[in-house]
Point group: C2
Chain length 266, copies 2
């Protein structure tokens, strides 16, 4: 499938999501570009301008070697006190604090922080569950996996490696959120596609300015991809999206982050 | 298109979204079933078990006649004081208070409440911008449009009218959220498809229990649909989704709402 079916509809009216098959467990140093190109081929897809890829942050984290051997993490005084407070492992709390710039909320079993990249998330979005590197020496670990150092740069670099102009890329993660149960996909990095879709100034059907005028485009891409990724039995960390229309953009995930000074919930 | 292409991939690995064309501006009393059936036909789709429809709440609200003539709304003492506080129209604040059970946050220009249905949202999710009914008498209005009385029931009734078993339906709206800029699609009603996807007990690739185990399925459906709906020049209030797999379920949108007692941000 190289062109979308249903061309009687305008571009954008029919959008196709493909969870790319056969992506192996990535190890530190693995180049993601060739792995994704192989997976596209397996899905009978060729990357085209206007396509978007949503790639889970874990793939970048593993490729970039963002593993931490928890047995080497020495908790500070502050981390030990906080660990007691929230009933968590002191080394885990130490690592969470190192990755964050402040605590947002805490409760036994729950530690929500502002990550150094600006995201509010539980446990600084550190993956404690599924993270061991390929050749962990005996007696090491357990292992944790941090977010990429600079997810926007990870996204830009992968786009450059893929070499097709006009493609968008979102680095995604799954976050909980206030008020509502369950996780949703969110963007932690973006390149090539706008982070937000700003419709301010556009008029509604009655000629009045639209009431809600900024859409979190990259977050909605991440949520849609998470929906599709969650459908498979095997891990499907890369989702290919075809049929959207967007104006290619230099973008930054920080465009999605509300200024803490005006955030009523921070 | 009646069967998804790309059948070399397992079910769920390729998912197709179609923004249904030609849905007219719905008026009070209009039955949505025939309008959606016509739009499916225009898109060369026939509803099948396993399909999901995401329908914006405004379509139900208009069909159910949830219009309010703002010139008839008399603000209470409480509404007038709050309106002064948040620099909003007193009649609008009165209507917001009538639709809600409490104020979550306020600031000049911003009034975030808990809707009587349990959602935390700005302005009780009332549409003040685009809402006039078909034959508004001269001298009436402006008009506001409330959420449906019982969006889960609206969803169930529409599914029954469409008459195809095994179809899911999500009633969607666009909400802002803490921490992050821009709106995302969220579910305000659901039928036929699970509201949440609970994977507790499932194991990860290393045989450990998955760390994040409840996915907000209906919210991700709404976010994905909002992404696709936002692509068109004309309003596309109904999105058809094919290729997902889910176990049909009696579901309720309240499954997506965190108990205020344990919500760290409510």
């Amino acid at each position: 499938m190289t062109t979308p079916p249903g061309t009687a509809l305008e571009v954008g009216a029919r959008v196709h999501f493909t969870a790319l098959p056969g992506i192996p467990l990535v190890q530190a140093g693995d180049a993601l570009g060739p792995l994704i190109e192989d997976a596209l081929t397996r899905a009978e897809l060729q990357l085209e301008p206007g396509d978007v890829l949503v790639v889970t942050s874990k793939l970048f984290s593993r490729s970039e070697g963002r593993f931490v051997d928890m047995s080497t993490v020495v908790p500070s005084e502050e981390a030990r006190a906080l660990a007691l407070d929230v009933d968590k492992d002191p080394a885990q709390v130490e690592l969470i604090l190192r990755e964050s710039v402040g605590v947002s909320r805490k409760r036994p079993g729950v530690l929500v922080v502002r990550h150094r990249l600006g995201f509010i998330s539980a446990n600084a979005a550190i993956d404690m569950s599924n993270a061991s590197p390929a050749h962990a020496a005996p007696g090491t670990g357990p292992w944790a996996l941090l977010l990429p150092e600079d997810p926007d740069k990870s996204a830009r670099d992968l786009l450059a490696a893929l070499g097709v102009p006009g493609v968008g890329l979102v680095v995604s993660d799954s976050f909980g959120r206030p008020f509502r149960v369950g996780t949703v996909g969110v963007a932690v990095g973006v390149a090539g596609v706008p982070a937000v879709f700003d419709q301010r100034g556009r008029l509604d059907l009655h000629g009045r300015e639209l009431q809600y005028t900024i859409t979190a485009l990259a977050d909605q891409l991440a949520a849609a991809a998470d929906l599709v990724a969650g459908q498979s039995d095997e891990a499907r960390p890369v989702i290919h999206i075809r049929g959207l229309r967007f104006v290619p953009a230099e973008s930054h995930v920080r465009e999605l982050l509300r200024d803490p000074e005006v955030d009523l919930y921070a």
